[in-house]
């Protein structure tokens, strides 16, 4: 089982993940990119929060301006070594200017949380034994960073200038 960690705290998951062949339930849903593209008009007309889940080989720029009508983008890690979602998250946050939730789902390690956080993820489906202390520890291991990313954190070059 997993639980949802969002913006540094555990949170109830308001969204229902919906299979491509299942009827849409009431309330916030997460659908695949394929379903979103197919049923775009219907989904956007529902007037309830929509999330889209992308596989690691799906480029989120396919969403175009629609991304800002979504509440959530879920990016899959099929296995922790597959690092494509690190780039996808940056595109969603920086290129597409998405302000909603970017959720990491699938297979990732404690040791990747800080990198995910840097590229724009703000929500994680984590295993049940996971604690907030672990999350905070993961983010605190490295105080400073050398390069700009999607987290707006001051880089070492900027800190040196002070």
């Amino acid at each position: 089982m997993t639980k949802l960690l969002k913006s540094g705290a555990f949170a109830a998951d308001a969204f229902q993940a919906t299979a491509d062949d299942a009827a849409l339930p009431d309330g916030p849903v997460i659908v695949s990119l394929a379903r979103f593209e197919k049923e775009r008009e219907t989904l956007l007309a529902r007037n309830t929060p929509i999330g889209v889940r992308l596989k690691s080989d799906e480029n989120p720029t396919r969403l175009g301006d629609d991304v800002n009508r979504l509440s959530l983008v879920a990016l899959e890690f099929p296995k922790f070594r597959d690092g494509r979602a690190f780039s996808w998250a940056r595109l969603v946050r920086t290129r597409l200017g998405f302000k909603g939730e970017i959720r990491a789902v699938g297979d990732f390690l404690f040791d990747q949380l800080s990198y995910q956080h840097r590229v724009g993820f703000d929500a994680w489906e984590v295993p049940d034994h996971f604690t907030i202390e672990m999350f905070n520890a993961a983010l605190a291991e490295m105080t400073n960073v050398y390069q700009p990313a999607a987290d707006g954190k001051k880089t070492i070059r900027e800190l040196r200038a002070h």
Binding site: N59, F80, R81, D82, G83, R84, F86, S87, W88, R90, T94, R95, L109, D111, Q112, S114, Y115, Q116, R118, V119, E141, M142, T143, N144, V145, Y146, Q147, P148, A149, I156, R157, L159, R160
Partner: protein, 559 residues
């Protein structure tokens, strides 16, 4: 341990931020080691974490690969490397084709302590392995060579910082190697790198960067192609990040052998690759946060300031006997300052393991650095060391000291200056041994007059298809293969890793370990018989082709 005469060379110095960064990284890794030892992390989960900290599991023990960024070391750092070899390993280290140093007999529990020792002297093992941006390499003669447009090390240091724990590019499809050169003569094998940056001057006389992608060795060798003809200096990080992003998104992840950027570059074609990179580059540039201000480039460049060279020195070479003259002939390169020289110390005395140095040898070289070369040494991709700034008049004293160390072989660039990977003696991936073959060939050609008669001839040996010994780029390349449990050695001719880069041609079926040195000798004899005036082996091969060499190589084997 601290040498009172220790000289601080002009090179990058850590400030409080760099220092904190490497120390925190050590603490982080110590935690990961502990989680592995308690079983919280499986080996499968631990593997990419340890690799990104330079730690391999080899045939007999853990191997730790320590980064020597762009090949530059201070005497203080070299002494620390000697100390680590003495304390935690079997008293030696191995300099690699990527300007790093490897320790082959490391215990997992000692690794955090070793990393702490390194952090104290502003060193680390970050990203020396794993599917991430690896330690950046550069021309070993940087800042000293007479033919240089600009010193490539400031940019290399900027790339080191940008790529260190870059959150987006730590889980790439495969490893990613970057090299930087600052001279039209390529001494850093730029064209065999995933990405290479060459400092160039445009028609208006302005310097900027030519960027190449998609070079590589391994089982499918490729020569890098130009993706950015002239990238402005302030754009370089944005441009490189664009290349990385295109690769991270589209590089193949279904087949480890097709995962390097060279495969993507050739699948897309360089035109399409360039189009995609340029779109990405424009977007990154628009955000603006990755632009490299001239002030930052100047600040980093200042660390690498040219040392205060003595003026009024004579360019004449001292007379110190025929042995010395031979050494000068091969191991000295023109320096940009009058009366100064660049001295190559080949770690290739015939019979020795290419690239190995003992703790004692490292300590004495550190003394030489302090006394004669402003405290500085370089590691080369040909597994040699270089004293970059020495006065001509000091060369006889340096040569005498190197003789005592058995490192005075006058063979830089000659047939016994062989590159070899660790091979089956150490490596888990190898199919065949490399080191004994290198030793055999070097001993066969030990006679110095013969070596000088043959002239420039680069032999490069790999113990498997992964090509860590650069066999594709050897004038004569040797590839170890395994045939039903027996080691065989294939010959390749006509490769080059320099600015005239080419991929060697495979001659035919392999030779046994007893035949290979003889086959090399017969190939060399063909060259001596066929060469025109001034032709190197490579030139003769390019002119006359494989046939005659092949006939001679198999002659005795068939008989």
């Amino acid at each position: 341990m601290l040498n009172p005469r220790q000289v601080e060379p002009n090179m990058y110095r850590y400030d409080e931020f760099d220092s904190k960064f490497v120390h925190e990284r050590v603490t982080q890794f110590a935690g990961q080691v502990e989680r592995r030892l308690t079983g919280e992390l499986t080996e499968d989960q631990f593997k990419p974490l340890r690799l990104m900290n330079g730690l391999y599991l080899q045939l007999h023990a853990y191997m730790l690969r320590v980064a020597v960024p762009y090949g530059t070391l201070s005497s203080k750092q070299l002494r620390r490397l000697a100390h680590i070899a003495r304390t935690y390993d079997k008293n030696f280290g191995h300099f690699t084709t990527r300007q790093n140093i490897q320790y082959n007999w490391i215990k997992l529990v000692d690794v955090p302590a070793i990393l702490r020792e390194l952090a104290e002297v502003e060193m680390h093992a970050i990203q020396t392995s794993g599917n991430c941006i690896r330690n950046v390499t550069a021309d070993q003669f940087a800042g000293a060579a007479a033919d240089e447009i600009e010193d490539p090390r400031p940019l290399a240091e900027i790339i080191r910082q940008w790529s260190s724990l870059h959150p987006e590019f730590l889980f790439l499809p495969r490893k990613f190697k970057i090299a930087v050169g600052g001279s039209p003569n390529d001494r850093a094998a730029l064209l065999y790198h995933d990405m290479a940056v060459e400092i160039v001057r445009n028609k208006e006389g302005r310097t900027g960067y030519k960027v190449l992608v998609g070079g590589g060795m391994g089982r499918t060798p490729y020569i890098a192609q130009v993706i950015g003809e002239f990238v402005e200096k302030d754009d370089i990080l944005a441009f490189m990040e664009a290349v990385m992003r295109v690769y991270n998104e589209q590089g193949r992840r279904d087949n480890i052998y097709k995962a390097r950027i060279k495969i993507l570059t050739n699948a897309l074609g360089i035109e399409e690759m360039r189009r995609q990179v340029n779109i990405e580059f424009a977007e990154i540039k628009k955000v603006g946060t990755l632009q490299l201000p001239q002030a930052e480039l100047d600040r980093i460049t200042a660390y690498f300031a040219v040392p205060a060279f003595e003026t009024g020195l004579s360019d004449a070479m001292p007379d110190a006997g025929p042995d010395f003259a031979n050494w000068v002939r091969t191991n000295i390169t023109a320096h940009k300052a009058p009366g100064y020289a660049i001295a190559t110390i080949t770690l290739k005395t015939p019979g020795q393991v290419p690239g190995d140095a003992t703790s004692e040898q490292m300590d004495i070289i550190a003394d030489l650095m302090d006394e004669f070369s402003v405290g500085e040494v370089r590691v080369t991709h040909e597994q040699n060391l270089v004293l970059p700034h020495v006065r001509n008049k000091d060369l006889p004293a340096i040569f005498a000291k190197l003789k005592e160390l058995d490192f005075a072989s006058p063979n830089a660039g000659l047939i016994t200056d062989i590159i070899a990977c660790p091979g089956l003696d150490y490596c888990d991936l190898a199919n065949a041994r490399s080191i004994p073959i290198a030793q055999k060939i070097a001993l066969k050609f030990e006679d110095l007059d013969r070596q000088h008669k043959i002239g420039e001839l680069k032999i490069k040996i790999s113990g498997c298809i992964n090509a860590c010994g650069h066999h594709h780029a050897g004038h004569i390349g040797i590839l170890g293969v395994d045939k039903k449990g027996v080691e065989f050695y294939q010959l390749l001719l006509g490769g080059s890793g320099a600015e005239d880069a080419s991929i060697g041609d495979i001659m035919g079926p392999g030779f046994t370990e007893h035949e290979i040195a003889g086959a090399v000798e017969r190939v060399v004899e063909v060259y001596l018989a066929q060469r025109n005036d001034g032709e190197r082996f490579l030139d003769t091969y390019r002119r006359i082709g494989m046939e005659k060499f092949k006939a001679a190589a198999y002659e005795t084997v068939a008989a």
